[in-house]
Symmetry: C2
């Protein structure tokens, strides 16, 4: 044999198939590690142009004039879009949540509202030429007074940022949630009441892959390969902005190198790429620079949080009022939902008799803020769990025990209407406390040593209304079986790095009793695959996973209806297992699925078999005190983070001995994926707590790059142990709940609580970088959190 002939570079590993242990290698693993997989930046066409955006250098300002005469002369420049030579039929936004908050012009026609706002676009033969053209465009601006503090923005006489008479000055969105018993009475009768302020800072998603798009215009239709979390919603908005029907816009999500909420919104650059592809007749590629990702996409909302809390003498939390002010920047989009959710999260994970929550998302001239892993859960849980810890300490109750007294339980309905079904929050608390060694260590803490906990709850499969279609599925899936028993899965869900394509494939494989490599998965293409609302709100495993499961069940049902009569049994007595159709009652009745499909097609005259499934969570199925309320999700995940730290009081440096994570995700469908999510959550939470901070000055991010914006690296990661599964959910696909988003929230508060214990200082602001800690320990004011 030839020396190479008995070796192949990648043999399909055995565990690629079902092992019964829910442990799969990702179906895209090899493509990713070998570099064969296609991200947007890998998509190449022979005659492709490179696009660049011209962005506002400061804001706010009025555009006085735009002169493209020099840029047009530059050889290799093929197209220049200005606000005045190109018409858009609609403002752009994020339609899933708030059609009315599509409040951003594709190119600013009059006012630039934030640094990096979109002014012009260029397509040229290469990146250098495109950049030179951008530099040659002369834009004359008239500076306008800006506002960079949300509280100042709400004051009388503040400049209007993006206000069109929608309500109070610069308050783009206000969310108010008031429910339960008489809250004044609860506060009046309380044994202990506290009033505290917290604030969380500005950060970015820092996905390794920057935002990008490649657009073509052929046959009268746009095709846009987009690094996105919402291909179908992009299709919706792009069609409206471009002024064409949706069936002329095909959005394809290739591999995506991380989203974390930053790729939820529909951005101008993709639309400009599409329009320039149409004008030039050539494909246009537009990949944002890292600086653009920081400044011009979306940040995590800075939030200022005031919390009043009332407790009974035994530590039970009775009632809570809070007032959250979100710095939204000048535009809505996914940030609108963030505002609503900034009150939602305060319901979790503790029981309350009464709530009075208000959140305001305020327009400023800072960079626009939007969704980021947990929407606002990370900010809100930081404040509200530090608040719990402070109360426990003030009341002299063990913080684990204190949390358990108010901890949510199965069957609890929160005042806001959230109906808790499966819930193992207490168990996660117990696990985390035990594993971090709390009870052994709590009374023997050394100088500078601390252990902190934080608990959170999160939605699994948020059920917001879908565009104009509140009764439409959030995910639809079809599965086709051919005469060999091979399944083709058509699914719109968006794997943005979390491994959901693998989980979807595994769900179908498990349901159909097929090995993984008998299921071929096609995903996230608005022409090819059925509707899916996108990767956000921890929807994919729950909604698309349930839809996939239902499609597989529907396929089995049809197959059994043909096979059962041949065996003289009832269809309900059949099952698919290990590649066979089997009778659950008579062991001798079994047949390979391919043979069964062959018989099916014979009976059906040649038709292959298609199973269809969809899943939609109705939000109006909840009652609280006999009144209809909104239940945001079909299930809720719960988790506890526990951090054991040592703080060097001379330097302010935090040394993390260990981080223990206990997460109630119901049932892990792919154990290594869940572990990846939990460990990734620790990494991201660590960055949020200690390392990452977007410093802005008059709306300009001063550290928009990975040199000055410090992401924790692998070397910064602490020792970690993760515990998961806990309480399988009856509604979840094969018992699963979310594992990637709620898990991000407890990390920073657990670390902060540990640091607080270690230092004796009750820090209330993020990040807890050494200088911040050192200054606090030395009684110096910390003024670095930009407002």
């Amino acid at each position: 044999m030839h020396k190479d002939c008995d070796k192949t570079y990648f043999k399909k590993p055995e565990f690629y198939r079902l092992t019964g242990e829910n442990n799969y290698v990702r179906i895209d693993a090899e493509d990713k590690v070998t570099g064969h997989g296609q991200y947007v930046g890998d998509i190449m066409f022979p005659d492709m142009l490179t696009g660049k955006m011209l962005r506002a250098p400061f804001a706010p300002a009025r555009i006085v004039s735009i002169d493209i005469s020099e840029a047009e002369k530059l050889p290799g420049v093929k197209c220049i879009l200005t606000p005045f030579n190109c018409e858009w039929k609609h403002k752009v936004g994020n339609g899933e949540f708030a059609k009315e908050f599509a409040d951003k012009e594709v190119l600013c026609t009059e006012i630039v509202r934030q640094v990096g706002d979109d002014v012009c676009a260029v397509a040229a033969i290469d990146e250098e030429t495109a950049q030179m053209a951008i530099d040659l465009i002369k834009v004359e601006y008239e500076k306008l007074p800006g506002v960079y503090d949300p509280f100042e923005a709400m004051e009388e006489g503040a400049p209007e940022v993006n206000w069109e008479g929608k309500g109070l000055r610069n308050i783009g969105m206000q969310s108010h949630m008031c429910a339960g018993t008489d809250i004044d009475e609860e506060f009046g009768n309380a044994a202990y009441v506290q009033h505290r302020d917290y604030s969380a800072h500005r950060m970015v998603h820092a996905a390794m892959e920057p935002h990008g798009a490649v657009a073509t215009y052929r046959n009268g239709e746009y095709t846009i390969w987009m690094s996105t979390q919402m291909a179908y919603v992009d299709q919706f908005w792009y069609a409206r902005c471009l002024g064409v029907p949706e069936n002329h816009v095909r959005v394809i999500k290739p591999l995506v190198g991380g989203g974390f909420g930053g790729k939820l919104d529909s951005y101008s650059f993709g639309l400009c790429a599409a329009r320039m592809a149409q004008i030039t007749g050539r494909p246009v590629r537009m990949i944002l620079t890292r600086e653009e990702v920081f400044q011009s996409t979306r940040n995590r909302h800075p939030i200022y949080m005031h919390i009043d809390t009332a407790f009974a003498a035994d530590g039970e939390m009775l009632a809570k009022k809070c007032y959250h002010v979100l710095d939204g920047g000048p535009y809505g989009g996914s940030g609108v939902a963030a505002c609503a959710q900034a009150t939602l999260w305060a319901n979790f994970p503790y029981k309350l008799r009464s709530v009075d929550f208000t959140a305001r998302r305020v327009y400023t001239n800072n960079p626009s803020a939007g969704a980021m892993r947990g929407y606002t859960a990370c900010q809100v849980h930081f404040a509200h769990d530090l608040n719990m810890q402070y109360a426990a300490d003030q009341m002299g109750i063990d913080p684990v025990e204190f949390r358990k007294r108010s901890a949510a339980e199965p069957g609890y309905v929160a005042p806001a209407g959230l109906t808790i079904t499966s819930c193992a929050y207490k168990e996660t608390l117990d696990t985390a406390a035990k594993e971090i060694g709390w009870y052994e260590k709590k009374d023997n803490m050394a100088e500078g040593e601390g252990i902190g906990f934080a608990g959170t709850g999160f939605v699994s499969g948020t059920g917001f209304a879908v565009l104009e279609a509140p009764n439409q599925s959030s995910a639809c899936v079809t599965v086709r079986l051919n005469k060999r028993g091979m399944a083709t899965l058509y699914i719109g869900s968006h794997d943005i790095g979390q491994g959901s394509d693998t989980v979807m494939t595994a769900i179908v494989a498990e349901e159909l009793g097929l090995p993984m490599d008998m299921v071929k998965t096609f995903m996230s293409d608005t022409y090819l695959t059925p509707w899916d609302s996108g990767s956000y709100g921890s929807r994919v495993t729950f909604l698309a996973g349930n839809a996939a499961r239902r499609a597989a069940v529907d396929a089995k049902r049809q197959l059994f209806e043909v096979i059962a009569p041949m065996w003289g049994v009832m269809p309900e007595t059949l099952e698919c297992l290990e590649g066979k159709v089997i009778s659950k009652e008579k062991a001798e009745l079994q047949m390979p699925i391919g043979d069964a499909m062959f018989k099916y097609m014979t009976v059906k005259g040649g038709d292959e078999l298609v199973g269809i499934g969809s899943y939609y969570h109705r939000t109006d199925n909840s009652q609280y005190n006999g009144e209809n309320t909104t239940n945001y999700a079909p299930a809720y995940s719960f988790s506890t983070g526990a951090a054991h730290v040592h703080v060097d009081k001379e330097t302010g440096v935090i040394d993390i001995d260990e981080f223990v994570f206990a997460h109630d995700c119901g049932r892990a469908l792919n154990r290594r994926a869940v572990e990846g999510q939990l460990e990734g959550s620790i990494g991201m939470g660590l960055g949020y707590a200690i390392y990452e901070h977007n410093i802005t000055k008059e709306g300009k991010i001063l550290n928009p790059n990975f040199r000055d914006y410090r992401l924790p690296t692998a070397l910064d990661m602490p020792k970690m142990r993760t515990f998961y599964d806990f309480a399988p959910d009856a509604e979840g696909p094969l018992g699963a709940k979310e594992a990637g988003e709620g898990s991000a929230a407890p990390v920073a508060p657990a670390l902060a609580n540990a640091v607080n214990m270690a230092t004796g200082v009750y820090f209330t602001e993020l990040p807890l970088d050494p200088e911040h800690i050192w200054r606090a320990l030395n009684g110096m004011k910390d003024d670095r959190n930009s407002k």
Copy 2:
């Protein structure tokens, strides 16, 4: 506005939508004319290797040794496959027809049987390096005695070409068809009997795109982009040869630049590309040179045809015996079916009381022959229609009238069992005679002037057994409707340039009452799309078209079952028309299809709608004289070609005044596509009749390139007029029958009959090039038809 902004390079033309005139621009037209479309040669990967085959320089010969040591040392050479370092699990063939005739080794382990036979394969960093490596491989051969004449091959003592005791010496396949009345009696009682010999020569398909494949091996699976007419059959064979299950082989047909039968067979080069991709871990591209296409793929069979015919006194044809000898070359594949069909076509288009047909496909060491546009219809109809013309002339009957006396009619069942349903052969004869001006001109022919006719019949949607699945559909199609009323069509059928994707899309659009751009078509991908048996035997419009129509009807049915109760009417009273669901009875009941789908999904809890359709023709549904017979197709097309020529007797040059073509295709689903097929048939038939000829010497083609092999160009095309539609078929999709393959057959015999009239010589051999004609007119022997 920007100077470019109000222009787009390609506006979707209005007639791209349904016009009611069955005239569509191809859905791939823009991609093709702009060069954006992807043929196999356009598929690029960053790290792709180029593959080359080492081929036998002469044959037959025994491989004595292969030395790759020098080639291996060449920098840039990544893989060399020899017959001895690489194992194949199966011989390769064309499985649709004859699994037992997969008689070709992927790489020849002992004997090379034809010039260009596959010996080694190389993958290198570029084409030059690959070719240098091929040149550095030293293969020592021992020449063996060969046989290049099929009659000699059948003689006692002839060398065995590829004979494994299957039957008579070198007779790879024999087809015998004997049916009807007592044939000796018919001949004995006949008023006129004639015995004639004819022969047709060797040619190639000469598709503009050479054969090619790009293969990758990732995730333990092969993906092969193949210029093929049978992606699913390739999958079947590749899996067997590579020794993996079918679900590890994905074959994708990109745009194909012509097939004509030459891309039916599964070839070694694609398998070698796949194996080398596996070994190297890099994509491998293998595009054949024009010389390889000529010498190593497939040729049209040279056929030697003896015909005995018996006629009644009024010219009615009573009985026919024939003996056809096909020069098959050394391998079977699609050529096996060609042999069977060489007797089949002799049934057409004339009625017979009695037949006794024999065809033998003989192994020789000439290039392998296979299917080519009509299988063997062009050769057989050439002989059998010249035979009719000769009889008409001998009996002194007008040749049009003579043909009409025996012409097939609706309801006729041929002795072989073929059941003619719709048939307008007589009308095509009348149309052709009238339009060519036969009756005005016939008695006023100038010196060297001639008018010739030829009539043919052909299968529409051949119904051969599909692999091991005689009861499986030959085409399965699914159509999904989304909440906007946009349809996605998943169809395996193979558009190889004939425009079938457009027709499939149009059928679904017409059935669903949608404009063309509301139907998105995905095709020809063995993972993505349902089973389709391939583009051959004029199957696509009939089989896949019917399957597509049924899928659309199934989708409508499901939609109507939801909408009808809302309107209080019966589902059967609804229809889809012009983008709406309408009531056929109450004009006020109508609703856009998107709105109807929205309601459907509401009722169905979010499920989108999938319609499924399939089509399979049962060949056992025919009776002749009370006995079960094989009916090869659900319908048959008929056509008449008429040529008006002047022959320059001094030079032998033929000047074609006009060619009139009348084709009974039932109903043209896309008029411009049918016209393209008919005009293309005239071009190809013209090449067959006059220009194209593969000259071989000891099995080596001496003119394997477009300089020496003379294809007619646009400048050589005569004035043409085409007439079509005629007899809509009840079983055909929207009435359609085939229009691309049967149409190729009458061109050469019509031209030959015209030349015979013009010259007074009864030519019986092709091609009729000027030298051939000049030699005959000057009484010189013509010995150029190689045997």
